[in-house]
């Protein structure tokens, strides 16, 4: 069985304001094409774990491997490059670049990667927007869209480089139930049809129940 992501014995301390162990040596493996929900009480360490897994937080102990590549100990520059190519991130708040058009927002990570010509990237970005049902908003400024629409743009952006793993920190946390359903369906389709791997933090029980697997955190450990 191929793993998309493998984390071993992850320990994370915070030192401010007082020393505090947020992650207490947890390990997890996520298979390719799996749709995993990360749940747990507020303060249990879900976000902290996700930032470690996303390579943005490098100040941890343990070992992290994505797509068969060991990431622990790599330099910031290499990690940036790796994130660009292999990790898509969806935030709770939609976090688009407000001055750029919807299409441009989706194109940026691909332009950065530079794997394709600009015209091709534009076509691909359109494709992703179509997949998420918001292609008609492509030329609009990102800040002009509704919350649910923006979240779908953010997902399209996370998909643009066809990453090994898509991670979301409460990607539906700000959406109403109808929009939550839309996002869930998209995730479902991405995993089953396109074999994308998804790890999503959620407080939504129904969302979690309908995913492939639930990982529950408590006080920095998986239960």
């Amino acid at each position: 069985m191929e793993f998309a992501l493998k984390a071993e014995n992850i320990i994370k301390y915070f030192y401010e304001p007082v020393e505090f162990q947020a992650l207490k040596g947890l390990s997890l493996e996520v298979k390719k094409g799996e749709f995993v929900s990360l749940i747990g009480k507020s303060g249990s360490g879900k976000s902290t774990l996700l930032y470690v897994l996303s390579t943005m937080d490098t100040d941890y102990e343990g070992n992290l491997e994505i797509n068969g590549e060991t990431l622990t100990g790599k330099k910031q520059n290499e990690l940036a490059r790796f994130r660009n190519e292999h990790i898509g991130f969806v935030f709770q708040f939609h976090y688009l670049l407000p001055e750029f058009s919807v299409l441009h927002n989706v194109m940026l990570p691909a332009l950065k990667l530079g794997r394709y010509q600009r015209s091709e990237i534009e076509d691909r970005a359109y494709e992703k927007l179509k997949l998420l049902g918001i292609a008609e908003h492509a030329p609009k400024k990102a800040s002009r869209l509704s919350g649910g629409q923006q979240q779908r743009v953010a997902i399209a952006r996370a998909l643009i480089n066809e990453p090994a793993v898509i991670m979301g920190d409460e990607p539906t946390g700000n959406l109403d139930s109808a929009n939550t359903q839309i996002v869930f369906d998209i995730f479902r389709e991405l995993t089953s049809k396109y074999h994308q791997t998804i790890i999503a933090v959620t407080h939504d029980d129904e969302f979690a129940r309908n995913s492939d697997r639930i990982i529950e955190l408590k006080d920095g450990l998986i239960i």
């Binding site: 943005m56 520059n77 935030f91 670049l97 001055e99 950065k112």
Partner: protein
């Protein structure tokens, strides 16, 4: 790289007003620098030219000083005697250059020399009724002198040739003529230091625009002055030189000093105090300009800091998506450089237009300087300094905020 430009551009356009203000800061700084330096060096050049229009590049004369030793000193010197001669005074000595014309011929052969004018000068009193006015009469070959100082252009009345047609003719400085109430054809009695009286006739009036000359000097033929001093036709007191390149004066003077046993003085040494004032003026110009640029630099620093503060979230998003530290640094350096280059170029333009405008403003120097408008220099070198300095300032001012942006930790921002 293109992508970074794209992002930088979008960010700048989205805060167009602040970007323009920051750019204007640089524009103002560089513009004022160009205006000031052009004007200051214009003034310096004008003063230098005015000075040189009346000053020989090199002057050779017999510097009569106090003898350092007396005959007594030479006698039994160094033995057990102590010889004391109190307050030694110079002997009566002629002020002339003994082999003057030979030196003149010798110097004429020098490639670097443009013109040589041997002369006999003497202090005189101009008698004006009961009043005596001190001054000098300089005996010259008027055509040689013209070659050095372009006397033709300085004639207010009469022509220089008129001097040759009479034995007792003089060309008189305009200030002196006014004091003595002289016009062409009028006669004046002068007395030499040894009391000889001589009647001279004004054949022309010249104006250098320098009071020290115009108020005291008259030109006469060499022979006229030689006769006044009761000297023979080989008697000359000064040799004045004009060089092809007057910045060589010092070196050439030093070379001559080795060859000729007289005082050789170059114009820079003779006018050292004026040259110091040039230097001081230049320093003031540069200090003020640098201050202006530093202020502009603070403007850039400020605007970038604000941008970064406001765009913290965007920076975090970019980094989360795989933009590296150097990419973010690049985005903000591009913004700083854009401000610097746009501001710099428009500053040069504004500076040029302002200097040009100043150069057309009428300026009345009271006839002391040969100019009707404010003097302004248009030197491409200053423009080069301006742009280089402007861009350097922006790079410097932009680097620190940009580096800060590059170091932003996305996790801290995104955790909210």
């Amino acid at each position: 790289m293109l992508l970074l430009f794209e992002i930088a551009k979008t960010q700048m356009l989205s805060r167009l007003k602040q970007s323009i203000i920051a750019t204007l800061g640089v524009t103002f700084g560089i513009g004022m620098f160009i205006l000031m330096i052009s004007f200051m060096t214009g003034v310096n050049t004008l003063l230098e030219e005015t000075m040189l229009s009346a000053t020989p590049h090199i002057r050779i004369y017999n510097d009569i000083g106090v003898q350092k030793s007396s005959v007594l000193h030479e006698w039994k010197q160094g033995k057990q005697f102590v010889n004391v001669v109190h307050h030694i005074k110079p002997k009566k000595e002629k002020k002339n250059l003994k082999n003057g014309f030979a030196i003149v011929e010798d110097i004429r052969k020098d490639e670097q020399v443009l013109g040589v004018s041997p002369q006999v000068s003497t202090q005189v009193f101009y008698n004006y009724g009961a009043i005596q006015i001190g001054g000098s009469v300089v005996g010259v070959n008027i055509f040689e002198e013209n070659k050095l100082f372009d006397l033709v252009s300085k004639m207010q009345a009469g022509r220089i040739e008129d001097l040759l047609t009479s034995n007792d003719g003089i060309l008189m400085g305009v200030g002196l003529a006014r004091k003595l109430n002289m016009n062409i054809g009028d006669k004046v009695t002068v007395s030499t230091p040894d009391g000889t009286l001589k009647v001279l006739q004004v054949r022309g009036i010249f104006k250098y625009g320098i009071g020290a000359i115009d108020d005291t000097r008259s030109y006469a033929n060499i022979s006229t002055v030689q006769k006044m001093l009761k000297e023979d036709t080989r008697y000359i007191t000064d040799i004045n030189l004009k060089l092809k390149d007057y910045y060589q004066a010092k070196t050439i003077a030093q070379a001559y000093q080795k060859r000729y046993n007289y005082k050789i003085e170059d114009w820079e040494t003779a006018n050292a105090t004026i040259l110091v004032s040039f230097t001081l003026r230049n320093i003031i110009t540069y200090v003020t300009s640098i201050t202006l640029l530093v202020v502009a630099g603070f403007g850039i620093y400020n605007i970038l800091n604000m941008t970064i503060y406001e765009k913290m979230r965007d920076i975090a998003i970019l980094k989360a998506q795989g933009f590296a530290e150097k990419d973010v640094l690049g985005i903000f350096m591009i913004q700083a450089l854009t401000i610097g280059v746009l501001g710099g170029v428009s500053g040069l333009l504004i500076g040029f237009l302002l200097s040009w405008w100043v150069s057309t403003i009428p300026f009345d120097s009271g006839g002391f300087l040969a100019t009707e408008t404010f003097p302004v220099n248009f030197n491409p070198f200053h423009y080069a300094i301006g742009i280089v300095f402007g861009v350097l300032t922006t790079i410097f001012a932009g680097y620190f905020p940009a580096r800060k942006a590059g170091k932003i930790d996305p996790v801290e921002i995104l955790r909210g």
